[in-house]
Symmetry: C2
Subunit: 215 residues, 2 copies
């Protein structure tokens, strides 16, 4: 199973690449291939240094689409439309949305698009793809802290059951993450909204990198 990360040079994208490439074939994409190459080199150096295995290839965002079975959209929600417009051949792909649209005034507020959630917006833009929301609530910094396990609960939701199961397997293959079937894509707004909630909780209660456990 080849997993490609669109926006793979950003903080979360890079952290995901570090975690996923240890036991999956991972393709890092960026608008500019040079940027993907540089990010890939940094990841490889770090993984080599730690004596960890990896399978990591840089390419463009379109290269990610063309080569991957699962495409992760690790981009800011506000760049979704322009990113989609720049890509083709997304039909039939499993697409993971981990976008959490939010704004900050005195605190962080969830600001979903009119479709209900970023994942639902993505599904509407790509009606022939299988959009699955996952990884939404993992604290960004934790992805890259390879010395620490990731042991959070990960809500996974979507309307295509087979794709949802595959993504749940992917989740469960990473560190100690625990995938939880959260139902249809219509539930994704609640999952996305948890991210501004935990950021507020971290700030108001002097905590850091707050994650979620459902038990």
């Amino acid at each position: 199973m080849i997993v490609g990360i669109i926006g793979g040079t950003g903080g979360i994208g890079k952290g995901m690449a570090l975690r996923l490439s240890q036991n999956h074939e991972v393709i890092i994409g960026s608008r500019k291939e040079e940027k993907a190459c540089a990010s890939c080199e940094t990841c490889k150096e770090l993984l080599l240094e730690l004596g960890l295995p990896f399978n990591l290839t840089p390419t463009t965002n379109q290269g990610v689409v063309d080569l991957s079975d699962i495409v992760v959209f690790s981009i800011p929600a506000e760049t979704l439309n322009s990113t989609i417009n720049s890509l083709k051949n997304l039909e039939g792909k499993i697409i993971i949305s981990l976008m959490n649209p939010m704004e900050r005034d005195t605190y962080f507020r969830y600001t979903p698009p009119e479709e209900g959630s970023a994942a639902q917006q993505l599904q509407k833009l790509l009606p022939d793809s299988k959009v699955i929301a996952a990884f939404n609530n993992i604290p960004a910094k934790k992805w890259s802290q390879l010395s620490e396990p990731l042991d959070y609960s990960v809500c996974v939701c979507g309307d295509d059951d087979k794709s949802k199961k595959l993504v749940m397997e992917l989740v469960n293959s990473i560190s100690k993450l625990e995938a939880l079937d959260a139902g249809p894509l219509a539930i994704s707004a609640t999952i996305e909204a948890i991210t501004p909630l935990v950021i507020n909780i971290a700030r108001l209660n002097r905590m850091h990198d707050v994650g979620v456990y459902f038990r």
Copy 2:
């Protein structure tokens, strides 16, 4: 600090009375005082049997309002309007909302009122009261299982800081619950929506009484 529970004879209300009355003065209210008396007797017998202390008094819902410093609304969201209309003198009171409006079709969906959340609706109905959302995501059955500690994270939000702090102290005084300041009342929709989410998670993943931990 006297804590009164409106709807104190329901499953959650009774469970809260069992937990809270061990170290607070608790008043159980019901539309009919006889019902509150019966519920109170059952609670007392159980607590006596377990050798636990208690301070528990039955009364009407109006009695709860008149005697309590903190009034807990432990009622189904759909009975909110009729309950409010049957009560007076709620001005100035600290009111805890633990309502989570939801509907079920193939899965549970959060169905907030037009005010945004049940807590915000309550605040609009009672502009001179201090509404705080708390205890929303504790699995109902766990309240009554006194042999087990309650160790969940409890999001507390509201617009009156002093009242929010008092409610957080109340939360922290119960078993091993951990109060977390989640911000203003405007964030309550996200907190309420977590309850249908965890119910769906429990059903879809063969789990029971799923609660939430933010760490």
